[in-house]
Symmetry: C2
């Protein structure tokens, strides 16, 4: 069948797939200083944010990504009090981070303030924590922020970036990871979104190699469904500074005092076990 103009479609060349959402009516369109930001209303997925033609998030399914980008790292780091988010302008990851009562300070550094302002307009539920006194929102270059940050000043660094295209490619480099490693305390964890386990294993393998080259002592890739991203299957990769990653704080995760919709302690452990990926990524 052919889809008519009532569908929004994103095709992924590397995956040989396309994902479409029905009855996509554009309700916002702007060119910021950095990128083209669009928002659509859709039939079943709520609102859809698109940047430079790529799906960023939808109302219906963003909870999976945001929970998996935050809780595994926070339940693995030894004592997460200070958290840095690079990118993540929609503020959904920040909201999850601040569910952890132990977090004293969370800095979100996105180069494009317009992403946050658009998110506040169309995804207000993701921005619930933006006014939390522990939250600090900065709109500047994340790479420069990390380069300038003091040694051992964070417990968790979350790289909530777009795909490794254009400027964002630097967020997947050994140089950047080396700075992230430097600004983490011992027992700290970095986590980065790492694309599709089905179609991007070479990229994931390269990221893991760069993380090790940057001085991280352990790496671990977790998989999760993410309907709105290419292949509907996605991953994040954790890197530990002087800490093993298999032994996360299971009891704390199982007895968490806040609500999650996707994340669970058993799901966390299960996400690390994916035989074909482990075999492909074996060092």
């Amino acid at each position: 069948m052919r889809l008519d103009d009532s569908w929004f479609t994103e095709a992924c060349d590397e995956c040989g797939t396309a994902f479409s959402l029905h009855q996509a009516h554009k309700i916002h369109d702007e060119q910021s200083d950095f990128q083209h930001i669009e928002v659509y209303e859709t039939a079943k997925f709520g609102k859809l944010m698109v940047i430079d033609g790529y799906v960023m998030l939808t109302t219906l399914d963003n909870f999976i990504y945001h929970e998996m980008m935050s809780h595994p790292a926070l339940f693995t780091a030894t004592d997460p009090k200070h958290v840095l988010i690079i990118g993540g302008g929609d503020s959904g990851t920040l909201r999850e981070v601040l569910k952890h009562a132990a977090v004293q300070h969370a800095v979100q550094v996105d180069i494009d303030e317009r992403v946050t302002r658009v998110s506040e307009m169309f995804f207000p539920e993701l921005c619930e924590a933006n006014a939390d006194p522990r939250a600090e929102l900065l709109f500047e270059d994340g790479i420069k922020y990390v380069a300038d940050a003091a040694d051992s000043s964070f417990d968790v660094v979350i790289i909530d970036s777009t795909d490794p295209i254009g400027q964002a490619a630097r967020l997947f480099s050994t140089e950047f990871y080396t700075d992230c490693q430097r600004i983490l305390r011992d027992g700290g964890v970095m986590v980065a979104q790492s694309e599709s386990p089905l179609c991007h294993l070479p990229l994931i393998k390269s990221m893991r190699g760069n993380m090790r080259d940057a001085g991280f002592s352990a790496v671990q890739t977790l998989h999760f469904p993410q309907p709105c991203y290419p292949t509907g299957w996605w991953s994040c990769t954790l890197a530990g500074k002087g800490i093993a990653l298999d032994a996360f704080r299971y009891e704390a995760a199982a007895q968490r005092a806040f609500t999650t919709r996707y994340y669970s302690a058993d799901g966390h452990r299960g996400a690390a076990n994916l035989p074909f990926m482990q075999e492909a990524l074996a060092d």
Copy 2:
């Protein structure tokens, strides 16, 4: 963007989504006595089988579905020796079942022999076990087969069906589940594919209710990614006859003597833990 004719697309009205595969060249097309069977070669997903316009499976990602339709049930049933597969004509589930050395007899009952013959031609790797002396392939009405089968004659019943549309709708009914329950031994497990956790929770809830009404003592829904199905996220639902489902044989699963690509013991446990779904399905 609009996709041109080089894409195969399946749209799902209920989900408001469409999934497309690039460079889909049709290499087989037939009308069997029961349905329209097509096979395409695709850019990245290998071969694609389509029945009546719906994606059945692809070479690249069928392993997830077939492993999740078989191993959780087989590692949960007390002593699985006799296995019945209703549907499953592509034989991929049968292959996984026969990886279990304890299985003495596995019957696959698909109404349409052409699905199996087409699978043998284009997905020969899924049909590797068809000649196993423990395998019995029948081409007849699965509902009648179950109605005629003796009480307590199977340890596992796998309902590897299409969507609940047309004739297949009967495979989701209390009446059918009642017969499945009757032909299971105590300690036996039935498992059925149960659509998308993101878009089909009402159906899953209804299936679980029907299973309980049919006399099953416990039900459990497991989720897993499935890129080629609507939303890229899918599920199966297990029903136990006189057996709890939370306590599967974890050690046996962890020490399995055969290779899997998706299934792991920790992944199995994790798949049962999905907070928003558990809340929505709570009885």
